[in-house]
């Protein structure tokens, strides 16, 4: 299906229609037109659209039942935390132009359509479950009512509980792998796509249950339509942006009085600032430590090599060394700066069982991922141990202040 043809000009309604089609329950072009003129009747549809776009992915089912006001609130705070610059929206405007602007802002700043499509895509393949949320913890939600001082044993209890849940999760995960492996094995050769070879759970389930097969097909076709629209949109969005310029022109310029209101400041929580402070402290400590070590080492090294002649070979050796260290450090830096290879792990993959050594034209090998993850795991373990021994030293120091007591730790094996 080669590149879509698009007339560059005179096709605004068509471009908007394409956009509509690629959005989930996208509004009609007419809504856009009305929004340009800030007509209130276009507002509810746009609020809803924005809500769909911005609501957290996992929360879809429970959140969709929210009242319109609450939905609007969600939209506003989401936009706010993303740094949406226009304060007018925060005041719940009557009209709909602000909403159109917000939507366009979202569209302009990144691959929104792609993200949305990705979020709702029909999953045909089997994936490794994603456990990101376990690791990335935002500021804690204070939903616990504790009435008074609490015994630390309760915390130990909860911690123990958490450990058991982790283990349960792991064994369930192992079971899932066993079952997946079986399904893949038993259906090998069933998939027409030569690269895949076997069916996925979804595909197998579809064959088992004809009714769901129908639904799946429909969903897939629907997604295809949206995908096509999104591709088309890419060809004709220029018109849209040109038009948006005119929409923006239609807005009254906001005075600084509105802007200076504190409500629109980026919402960086106390917690967030505290986090930054902690990181800074850690970095500084690291800096000091390095400073000390590096200085003394340099001095020692200088003293050591002073006697040795520095021939021309030395120059080249030195250069080679410098380059190699630079490369190494750049790689190190890259591991957090850029979304590197290790970030690929967080992208969904389709699990494919293949015989050892079967070459895949693309894709990852589990062994490779395992290597990366093991390295990551080892690194994290070291970090944890480091923290623990830090605590141990601290507590050992305290125990030293009490001479008439003996602290005995259960011996390890």
């Amino acid at each position: 299906m080669g590149r879509r043809r698009c007339r560059a000009t005179g096709a605004l309604p068509q471009a908007i229609a394409t956009l509509s089609r690629s959005l989930p329950a996208g509004p009609s072009p007419e809504i856009f037109r009305r929004a340009k003129f800030d007509r209130p009747e276009a507002a509810p549809v746009l609020w809803q659209l924005l809500f769909r776009v911005l609501a957290p992915p996992a929360a879809d089912s429970t959140w969709s039942s929210l009242a319109p006001e609450a939905q609007a609130q969600v939209v506003k705070s989401a936009l706010h935390s993303l740094g949406y610059p226009r304060p007018v929206l925060a005041q719940f405007p009557e009209g709909s132009r602000e909403l159109l602007l917000a939507l366009s802002w979202l569209l302009a700043r990144g691959p929104l359509l792609e993200q949305l499509l990705d979020k709702t895509r029909v999953q045909l393949g089997d994936q490794l479950p994603q456990f990101e949320a376990l690791g990335s913890l935002g500021p804690p939600v204070l939903h616990v009512e504790t009435e008074g001082p609490m015994d630390l044993r309760r915390v130990q209890w909860l911690m123990g509980k958490l450990r058991f849940r982790w283990r349960h999760l792991i064994s369930s995960q192992q079971e899932q792998c066993t079952l997946l492996g079986k399904i893949h094995l038993y259906t090998s050769g069933c998939h027409s796509h030569q690269n895949l070879g076997h069916l996925s759970v979804t595909e197998t389930e579809m064959l088992r249950d004809p009714e769901s097969s129908q639904q799946l097909l429909q969903a897939l076709e629907c997604e295809n339509t949206r995908l096509e629209a999104a591709l088309e949109w890419r060809c004709c969005e220029l018109v849209f942006w040109q038009w948006m310029d005119t929409v923006l022109d239609a807005c009254p310029v906001e005075g600084p009085s509105v802007a200076s209101q504190p409500t629109v400041l980026p919402m960086i929580s106390e917690h967030g600032l505290g986090e930054l402070e902690l990181i800074e402290q850690e970095l500084q400590a690291l800096q000091e430590e390095l400073q000390e070590v590096a200085e003394s080492r340099r001095a020692a090294w200088e003293a050591q090599v002073r006697g040795l002649g520095r021939g021309p070979e030395w120059g080249t050796t030195r250069k080679a060394l410098q380059e190699s260290v630079e490369r190494e450090l750049a790689a190190l830096q890259g591991s957090w700066e850029q979304s590197s290879r290790s970030d690929q792990l967080h992208r969904p993959h389709r699990l494919v069982r293949s015989k050892e050594g079967a070459p895949g034209p693309q894709g990852l090998r589990a062994a490779e991922v395992i290597r990366m993850l093991s390295a990551q795991e080892a690194c994290l373990k070291r970090m944890l141990h480091q923290l623990q021994s830090q605590c141990q030293q601290e507590l050992a120091r305290l125990s030293g202040t009490l001479p008439d007591l003996i602290w005995i730790l259960a011996p390890r094996h």
Binding site: G83, L152, L199, L248, L276, L329
Partner: protein, 430 residues
């Protein structure tokens, strides 16, 4: 005893972790249920998969509840089961007489003839469920991976929308029971007896309509991922940038300020940097250089690390300044797109899922477990830091150092140094 606010923070932190764990568990259970169901005996095609009894809680559950709530139901079921068993006995005799290749019917795998009431179905699958994991030998055609060759009576008919496997003579005998007409454009493995995926899995074929849609789908995703640059797209990009700038200007804030989401992204990468830098440094310090060349290399590394930390600190200070004083951060201007979303605008970014090849279940398990373990370690490290921040100051400041303090220390030791897996004893020295 912990002061109230400290207690609240710790408990909610842990409760949050527990909840997220349970959520994962629930998700996993859901997919486990689907997989388990697939590995149990399949009903003869054409029998509509009956819904489980309408219990609100079991909507998503395995359709094999241990019992149904109503006694009336049970009674009916009992009668039905008896009738079925009788029918099966009769049929068993017939199929034995007819041909011995038919899947054997054990008393526990009662094949429900098509048209059976919905309520009877769960029983069957619950019984046969146990077979899913067993290694019951299968006879005859079920084992044959290439059925058309070895067993001419069992053939794959690729007929447009519908693909089916007819089970030899039985298919004709019980042909009336088929509901060919109602079969949606999915392809079905048409068997008249319950069978398992293990026995018949390789005979499954995807329906053509689905195959078509799926391949179109993957093609479209691939297209979406390929970002072709042309004058045309460049113009679009320029228009978008212009729009963003104009919007920014019009909002009364001429410059872009970091948002909470952006700050979090940066903070996260800096945290990671911190940890990795420390590890690298320790690694470097723990190795003893063999010669002066290596010594030089080590020195260079240490100095290089220093430089990186300086950069990080600089970046951090800019970030803090931007947040607190609303100054425009030049780093944000430099890479505006990267700061936008966690996905960034990576050039080689692909929206179509890549295949991840594994060779054995064992490998898959290792992979999945490692992945889980990594996120658990992250969580544990996070909790460790929270606990350190809350408990260490408390222990250091609390006076007098009586039994309550000791109890606190002991519990803190277990939490902080042992991950709450072990504990220490404090003895009086007599």
């Amino acid at each position: 005893m912990l002061p109230i606010d400290c207690a609240r923070r710790l408990v909610s932190e842990l409760q949050g972790a527990l909840d997220s764990c349970s959520e994962r568990q629930r998700q996993l259970e859901r997919s486990l249920r689907v997989s388990r169901r697939l590995l149990r005996a399949w009903e003869p095609a054409g029998t509509p998969a009956p819904e489980p009894p309408p219990e609100p809680e079991t909507k998503e559950e395995d359709p094999t509840p241990a019992c149904t709530p109503s006694a009336q139901d049970l009674k009916e079921l009992e009668l039905l089961t008896q009738a079925l068993e009788k029918a099966v006995r009769v049929r068993k005799g017939m199929s034995k007489a007819g041909q011995d290749r038919a899947p054997s019917l054990t008393s526990t795998s009662i094949a429900t003839p098509s048209g059976t009431t919905a309520s009877a179905q769960p029983q069957v699958s619950s019984q046969t469920g146990s077979h899913a994991s067993s290694t019951r030998p299968t006879k005859g055609i079920h084992q044959a991976p290439a059925p058309t060759k070895d067993h001419p009576e069992c053939r794959l008919i690729s007929g447009g929308v519908r693909t089916q496997v007819k089970m030899g003579a039985q298919a004709t005998r019980h042909g009336a029971g088929f509901r060919d007409q109602q079969i949606p454009p999915s392809a079905a493995l048409q068997a008249t007896e319950a069978f398992t995926l293990k026995e018949m899995g390789t005979l499954l074929r995807l329906p053509v309509a689905f195959k078509k849609a799926a391949s179109q789908n993957s093609r479209l995703w691939a297209q979406l991922s390929s970002t072709q640059t042309s004058d045309f797209t460049d113009a679009t990009r320029a228009a978008k940038t212009q729009f963003l700038q104009k919007l920014q200007m019009a909002s009364g804030w001429p410059s872009h300020r970091p948002s909470a989401a952006e700050v979090e992204v940066h903070a996260q990468s800096l945290r990671k940097a911190c940890a990795l830098l420390r590890l690298r440094m320790q690694e470097e310090l723990s190795t003893v250089p063999a010669d002066w060349m290596q010594e030089y290399r080590c020195l260079l590394t240490l100095e290089g690390l220093q430089a990186i930390i300086r950069q990080c600190l600089h970046r951090l200070q800019m970030l803090r300044a931007a947040v607190t004083e609303q100054l425009p951060g030049p780093w944000l201007v430099e890479k505006p797109s990267q700061a936008l979303s966690p996905y960034g605008s990576k050039v080689d970014f692909s929206w179509s899922p890549e295949p991840l090849f594994y060779s054995s279940t064992q490998e898959l398990q290792t992979l999945a477990t490692l992945k889980l373990q990594v996120s658990m370690l992250n969580q544990q490290i996070h909790l460790e830091k929270v606990l350190m921040a809350e408990l260490l100051p408390l222990i250091n400041t609390q006076e007098p150092r009586g039994p309550p303090w000791l109890a606190l220390c002991r519990a803190a030791y277990s939490l902080l140094c042992e991950g709450s897996e072990h504990f220490l004893t404090v003895l009086q020295d007599d």
